[in-house]
Symmetry: C2
Subunit: 143 residues, 2 copies
DNA sequence: GTAGGTGCAAATCGTTTGCAGTACA
DNA sequence: TGTACTGCAAACGATTTGCACCTAC
Protein backbone atom coordinates (compact mmCIF):
# COMPACT_ATOMS: atom_id res chain seq x y z
CA UNK A 1 0.00 0.00 0.00
CA UNK A 2 1.38 3.31 -1.02
CA UNK A 3 1.57 6.42 1.10
CA UNK A 4 -1.50 8.58 1.08
CA UNK A 5 -1.62 12.32 0.80
CA UNK A 6 -2.71 12.56 4.41
CA UNK A 7 0.14 10.46 5.77
CA UNK A 8 2.67 12.48 3.87
CA UNK A 9 1.21 15.67 5.32
CA UNK A 10 1.57 14.27 8.83
CA UNK A 11 5.16 13.20 8.29
CA UNK A 12 6.05 16.57 6.83
CA UNK A 13 4.70 18.31 9.91
CA UNK A 14 6.42 15.88 12.22
CA UNK A 15 9.69 16.95 10.70
CA UNK A 16 9.00 20.62 11.15
CA UNK A 17 8.03 21.39 7.58
CA UNK A 18 5.03 23.55 6.90
CA UNK A 19 2.13 22.22 4.91
CA UNK A 20 1.59 24.92 2.35
CA UNK A 21 -1.06 24.72 -0.37
CA UNK A 22 1.70 24.47 -2.95
CA UNK A 23 3.16 21.41 -1.27
CA UNK A 24 -0.27 19.85 -1.00
CA UNK A 25 -0.76 20.28 -4.71
CA UNK A 26 2.59 18.73 -5.54
CA UNK A 27 1.94 15.80 -3.21
CA UNK A 28 -1.49 15.35 -4.76
CA UNK A 29 0.06 15.26 -8.21
CA UNK A 30 2.50 12.55 -7.22
CA UNK A 31 0.16 10.36 -5.20
CA UNK A 32 -2.52 10.44 -7.87
CA UNK A 33 -0.19 9.17 -10.56
CA UNK A 34 0.90 5.64 -11.43
CA UNK A 35 3.80 7.02 -13.39
CA UNK A 36 7.23 8.17 -12.49
CA UNK A 37 7.32 11.90 -12.90
CA UNK A 38 10.08 14.34 -13.72
CA UNK A 39 10.06 17.77 -12.10
CA UNK A 40 8.94 19.23 -15.43
CA UNK A 41 6.09 16.73 -15.71
CA UNK A 42 4.87 17.55 -12.22
CA UNK A 43 5.09 21.23 -13.07
CA UNK A 44 2.92 20.76 -16.13
CA UNK A 45 0.39 18.63 -14.28
CA UNK A 46 0.19 21.18 -11.47
CA UNK A 47 0.34 24.26 -13.62
CA UNK A 48 -3.01 23.65 -15.28
CA UNK A 49 -5.00 24.14 -12.11
CA UNK A 50 -2.52 26.30 -10.25
CA UNK A 51 -0.73 28.57 -12.74
CA UNK A 52 0.98 30.53 -10.03
CA UNK A 53 3.08 27.65 -8.70
CA UNK A 54 6.66 27.95 -9.87
CA UNK A 55 8.98 25.22 -11.05
CA UNK A 56 11.36 26.18 -8.27
CA UNK A 57 8.81 25.17 -5.68
CA UNK A 58 8.48 21.78 -7.33
CA UNK A 59 12.23 21.24 -7.08
CA UNK A 60 12.33 22.30 -3.45
CA UNK A 61 9.35 20.16 -2.51
CA UNK A 62 10.79 17.13 -4.26
CA UNK A 63 14.05 17.58 -2.43
CA UNK A 64 12.28 17.50 0.93
CA UNK A 65 10.08 14.55 0.01
CA UNK A 66 13.09 12.61 -1.21
CA UNK A 67 15.03 13.41 1.95
CA UNK A 68 12.16 12.06 4.06
CA UNK A 69 11.99 9.03 1.76
CA UNK A 70 8.38 9.71 0.90
CA UNK A 71 9.22 9.48 -2.78
CA UNK A 72 11.76 7.31 -4.61
CA UNK A 73 14.08 8.28 -7.39
CA UNK A 74 14.09 6.05 -10.46
CA UNK A 75 16.88 5.46 -12.95
CA UNK A 76 15.95 2.79 -15.43
CA UNK A 77 13.24 4.69 -17.25
CA UNK A 78 14.98 7.39 -19.24
CA UNK A 79 15.42 10.39 -16.99
CA UNK A 80 17.57 9.90 -13.94
CA UNK A 81 15.56 12.46 -12.08
CA UNK A 82 12.09 11.08 -12.01
CA UNK A 83 10.20 10.20 -8.89
CA UNK A 84 7.42 7.95 -7.80
CA UNK A 85 5.51 7.75 -4.56
CA UNK A 86 7.18 5.51 -2.01
CA UNK A 87 5.88 2.63 0.05
CA UNK A 88 6.69 2.26 3.72
CA UNK A 89 8.72 -0.91 3.41
CA UNK A 90 11.83 -1.68 1.42
CA UNK A 91 10.93 -2.43 -2.16
CA UNK A 92 12.03 -2.33 -5.76
CA UNK A 93 10.48 -1.12 -8.98
CA UNK A 94 9.24 -2.52 -12.22
CA UNK A 95 8.88 0.16 -14.85
CA UNK A 96 7.04 0.18 -18.16
CA UNK A 97 9.33 1.61 -20.80
CA UNK A 98 6.39 2.76 -22.88
CA UNK A 99 3.89 4.44 -20.56
CA UNK A 100 6.07 4.88 -17.50
CA UNK A 101 3.84 3.00 -15.09
CA UNK A 102 5.69 1.93 -11.98
CA UNK A 103 4.85 -1.23 -10.04
CA UNK A 104 6.44 -1.87 -6.68
CA UNK A 105 7.49 -5.31 -5.61
CA UNK A 106 8.82 -6.67 -2.38
CA UNK A 107 9.82 -10.00 -1.01
CA UNK A 108 12.90 -10.58 -3.05
CA UNK A 109 15.75 -10.94 -0.71
CA UNK A 110 19.11 -9.84 -1.94
CA UNK A 111 20.86 -10.54 1.34
CA UNK A 112 22.21 -13.92 0.25
CA UNK A 113 23.82 -12.34 -2.73
CA UNK A 114 24.98 -9.45 -0.61
CA UNK A 115 26.70 -11.80 1.79
CA UNK A 116 28.37 -13.73 -0.98
CA UNK A 117 29.56 -10.55 -2.63
CA UNK A 118 30.72 -9.08 0.61
CA UNK A 119 32.81 -12.17 1.31
CA UNK A 120 34.34 -12.34 -2.14
CA UNK A 121 35.05 -8.68 -2.64
CA UNK A 122 35.69 -7.71 0.98
CA UNK A 123 33.38 -4.76 0.52
CA UNK A 124 31.11 -3.67 3.31
CA UNK A 125 27.86 -3.46 1.39
CA UNK A 126 25.52 -0.67 2.41
CA UNK A 127 22.80 -0.67 -0.19
CA UNK A 128 21.69 -1.55 -3.65
CA UNK A 129 19.75 -0.35 -6.63
CA UNK A 130 17.47 -2.80 -8.39
CA UNK A 131 14.97 -1.93 -11.08
CA UNK A 132 13.33 -3.96 -13.79
CA UNK A 133 12.23 -2.52 -17.08
CA UNK A 134 9.70 -3.90 -19.50
CA UNK A 135 6.27 -3.46 -21.00
CA UNK A 136 3.08 -3.46 -18.93
CA UNK A 137 0.11 -5.54 -19.99
CA UNK A 138 -1.72 -2.64 -21.63
CA UNK A 139 1.31 -1.56 -23.64
CA UNK A 140 1.97 -5.10 -24.84
CA UNK A 141 -1.45 -5.13 -26.47
CA UNK A 142 -1.12 -1.69 -28.01
CA UNK A 143 0.39 -1.60 -31.50
CA UNK B 1 38.66 -9.95 -17.45
CA UNK B 2 38.09 -6.42 -18.62
CA UNK B 3 38.50 -5.13 -22.12
CA UNK B 4 41.97 -3.97 -23.04
CA UNK B 5 42.89 -0.83 -24.92
CA UNK B 6 43.88 -2.93 -27.90
CA UNK B 7 40.63 -4.85 -28.09
CA UNK B 8 38.63 -1.66 -27.93
CA UNK B 9 40.70 -0.22 -30.77
CA UNK B 10 39.97 -3.29 -32.88
CA UNK B 11 36.25 -3.16 -32.19
CA UNK B 12 36.11 0.53 -33.00
CA UNK B 13 37.74 -0.09 -36.36
CA UNK B 14 35.48 -3.06 -37.06
CA UNK B 15 32.54 -0.72 -36.73
CA UNK B 16 33.98 1.82 -39.11
CA UNK B 17 35.16 4.31 -36.55
CA UNK B 18 38.56 5.88 -36.93
CA UNK B 19 41.19 5.42 -34.28
CA UNK B 20 42.36 8.95 -33.66
CA UNK B 21 44.97 9.88 -31.06
CA UNK B 22 42.28 11.65 -29.06
CA UNK B 23 40.18 8.53 -28.86
CA UNK B 24 43.21 6.49 -27.88
CA UNK B 25 43.88 8.86 -25.05
CA UNK B 26 40.30 8.72 -23.79
CA UNK B 27 40.28 4.93 -23.98
CA UNK B 28 43.59 4.81 -22.15
CA UNK B 29 42.16 7.01 -19.41
CA UNK B 30 39.17 4.72 -18.92
CA UNK B 31 40.96 1.38 -19.12
CA UNK B 32 43.69 2.49 -16.74
CA UNK B 33 41.24 3.45 -14.03
CA UNK B 34 39.46 1.33 -11.44
CA UNK B 35 36.98 4.08 -10.88
CA UNK B 36 33.83 5.13 -12.55
CA UNK B 37 34.53 8.36 -14.34
CA UNK B 38 32.35 11.28 -15.29
CA UNK B 39 33.00 13.10 -18.56
CA UNK B 40 34.49 15.95 -16.55
CA UNK B 41 36.78 13.60 -14.64
CA UNK B 42 38.04 12.04 -17.86
CA UNK B 43 38.61 15.49 -19.28
CA UNK B 44 40.72 16.48 -16.30
CA UNK B 45 42.70 13.25 -16.38
CA UNK B 46 43.34 13.65 -20.09
CA UNK B 47 43.87 17.37 -20.09
CA UNK B 48 47.07 17.23 -18.08
CA UNK B 49 49.03 15.42 -20.76
CA UNK B 50 46.98 16.54 -23.74
CA UNK B 51 45.79 20.09 -23.16
CA UNK B 52 44.43 20.42 -26.66
CA UNK B 53 41.75 17.75 -26.29
CA UNK B 54 38.34 19.32 -25.84
CA UNK B 55 35.55 18.24 -23.56
CA UNK B 56 33.34 17.85 -26.60
CA UNK B 57 35.57 15.09 -27.91
CA UNK B 58 35.23 13.27 -24.60
CA UNK B 59 31.45 13.38 -24.87
CA UNK B 60 31.46 12.19 -28.44
CA UNK B 61 33.90 9.38 -27.73
CA UNK B 62 31.92 8.23 -24.71
CA UNK B 63 28.78 8.14 -26.78
CA UNK B 64 30.40 5.83 -29.32
CA UNK B 65 31.96 3.59 -26.67
CA UNK B 66 28.62 3.31 -24.86
CA UNK B 67 26.82 2.50 -28.09
CA UNK B 68 29.26 -0.33 -28.77
CA UNK B 69 28.87 -1.45 -25.14
CA UNK B 70 32.55 -1.11 -24.47
CA UNK B 71 31.79 0.99 -21.41
CA UNK B 72 28.92 0.78 -18.91
CA UNK B 73 26.97 3.60 -17.39
CA UNK B 74 26.61 3.60 -13.60
CA UNK B 75 23.89 5.12 -11.45
CA UNK B 76 24.36 4.24 -7.81
CA UNK B 77 27.51 6.24 -7.17
CA UNK B 78 26.44 9.85 -7.23
CA UNK B 79 26.51 11.05 -10.82
CA UNK B 80 24.15 9.33 -13.21
CA UNK B 81 26.55 9.88 -16.03
CA UNK B 82 29.66 8.08 -15.02
CA UNK B 83 31.21 5.25 -16.92
CA UNK B 84 33.43 2.30 -16.28
CA UNK B 85 35.12 -0.07 -18.65
CA UNK B 86 32.93 -2.98 -19.61
CA UNK B 87 33.47 -6.72 -19.52
CA UNK B 88 32.41 -8.95 -22.38
CA UNK B 89 29.73 -10.90 -20.51
CA UNK B 90 26.62 -9.73 -18.70
CA UNK B 91 27.51 -8.48 -15.27
CA UNK B 92 26.66 -6.12 -12.47
CA UNK B 93 28.60 -3.64 -10.41
CA UNK B 94 29.69 -3.14 -6.86
CA UNK B 95 30.74 0.42 -6.20
CA UNK B 96 32.71 1.96 -3.37
CA UNK B 97 30.90 5.06 -2.20
CA UNK B 98 34.12 6.59 -0.94
CA UNK B 99 36.79 6.11 -3.61
CA UNK B 100 34.57 5.14 -6.51
CA UNK B 101 36.24 1.83 -7.24
CA UNK B 102 34.06 -0.44 -9.32
CA UNK B 103 34.12 -4.22 -9.05
CA UNK B 104 32.27 -6.35 -11.55
CA UNK B 105 30.46 -9.48 -10.56
CA UNK B 106 28.70 -12.15 -12.54
CA UNK B 107 26.93 -15.38 -11.82
CA UNK B 108 23.90 -14.05 -10.06
CA UNK B 109 20.90 -15.10 -11.96
CA UNK B 110 17.91 -12.82 -11.81
CA UNK B 111 15.82 -14.89 -14.19
CA UNK B 112 13.88 -16.69 -11.43
CA UNK B 113 12.85 -13.37 -10.01
CA UNK B 114 12.15 -12.06 -13.47
CA UNK B 115 9.82 -14.95 -14.19
CA UNK B 116 7.98 -14.56 -10.90
CA UNK B 117 7.58 -10.85 -11.44
CA UNK B 118 6.51 -11.29 -15.01
CA UNK B 119 3.81 -13.73 -13.93
CA UNK B 120 2.53 -11.58 -11.08
CA UNK B 121 2.59 -8.24 -12.81
CA UNK B 122 1.90 -9.40 -16.36
CA UNK B 123 4.77 -7.26 -17.54
CA UNK B 124 7.01 -8.44 -20.32
CA UNK B 125 10.37 -7.84 -18.69
CA UNK B 126 13.15 -6.67 -20.98
CA UNK B 127 15.99 -5.76 -18.69
CA UNK B 128 17.17 -4.74 -15.30
CA UNK B 129 19.52 -2.48 -13.42
CA UNK B 130 21.36 -3.90 -10.44
CA UNK B 131 24.14 -2.17 -8.55
CA UNK B 132 25.49 -2.58 -5.05
CA UNK B 133 27.03 0.23 -3.10
CA UNK B 134 29.35 0.01 -0.13
CA UNK B 135 32.88 0.53 1.08
CA UNK B 136 35.88 -1.28 -0.38
CA UNK B 137 38.43 -2.91 1.90
CA UNK B 138 40.88 -0.03 1.71
CA UNK B 139 38.26 2.59 2.52
CA UNK B 140 36.95 0.57 5.48
CA UNK B 141 40.38 0.80 7.07
CA UNK B 142 40.81 4.49 6.37
CA UNK B 143 39.52 6.84 9.07
C1' DG C 1 5.43 37.71 15.34
C1' DT C 2 8.68 34.88 13.14
C1' DA C 3 10.92 31.30 10.83
C1' DG C 4 10.25 29.09 7.00
C1' DG C 5 8.29 29.12 2.22
C1' DT C 6 7.37 31.21 -2.30
C1' DG C 7 8.12 33.28 -6.86
C1' DC C 8 10.74 35.79 -9.94
C1' DA C 9 14.89 36.59 -12.41
C1' DA C 10 19.47 35.72 -12.97
C1' DA C 11 23.35 32.66 -12.47
C1' DT C 12 25.20 28.33 -13.09
C1' DC C 13 26.16 23.70 -14.61
C1' DG C 14 26.29 19.92 -17.78
C1' DT C 15 25.51 18.74 -22.40
C1' DT C 16 24.63 19.47 -27.40
C1' DT C 17 25.07 21.70 -31.88
C1' DG C 18 26.91 24.51 -36.00
C1' DC C 19 30.69 25.24 -38.47
C1' DA C 20 35.28 25.76 -40.37
C1' DG C 21 39.51 23.54 -40.39
C1' DT C 22 42.16 18.95 -39.95
C1' DA C 23 43.60 14.22 -40.37
C1' DC C 24 42.79 9.26 -40.73
C1' DA C 25 41.98 5.38 -44.02
C1' DT D 1 41.04 12.40 -51.91
C1' DG D 2 37.03 12.18 -49.31
C1' DT D 3 34.69 11.41 -45.25
C1' DA D 4 34.80 11.35 -40.65
C1' DC D 5 36.74 13.78 -36.68
C1' DT D 6 38.13 17.75 -33.89
C1' DG D 7 37.92 22.11 -31.43
C1' DC D 8 35.96 26.35 -30.64
C1' DA D 9 32.17 29.09 -29.47
C1' DA D 10 27.63 29.57 -28.98
C1' DA D 11 23.14 27.57 -27.86
C1' DC D 12 20.51 24.98 -24.97
C1' DG D 13 17.97 22.74 -21.13
C1' DA D 14 17.89 21.53 -16.45
C1' DT D 15 18.83 22.91 -11.88
C1' DT D 16 20.32 26.26 -8.26
C1' DT D 17 20.71 30.64 -5.97
C1' DG D 18 19.79 35.58 -4.30
C1' DC D 19 16.47 38.33 -2.79
C1' DA D 20 12.20 40.64 -1.53
C1' DC D 21 7.74 39.47 -0.23
C1' DC D 22 4.38 36.39 1.95
C1' DT D 23 2.09 32.97 5.10
C1' DA D 24 1.48 28.80 8.12
C1' DC D 25 2.10 27.93 12.68
Amino acid sequence: MRLTKRKIATILRQHGYKLTPQRQVVIQAITSSQDHLTPAAIYEKVHQDHPNIGLVTIYRTLEILAELELICKLHAGGSCRSYTISTPQHHHHLICSNCGTVVDFTGHNLSDLEQRLSKESRFRIDGHLLEFIGLCQACQKAP
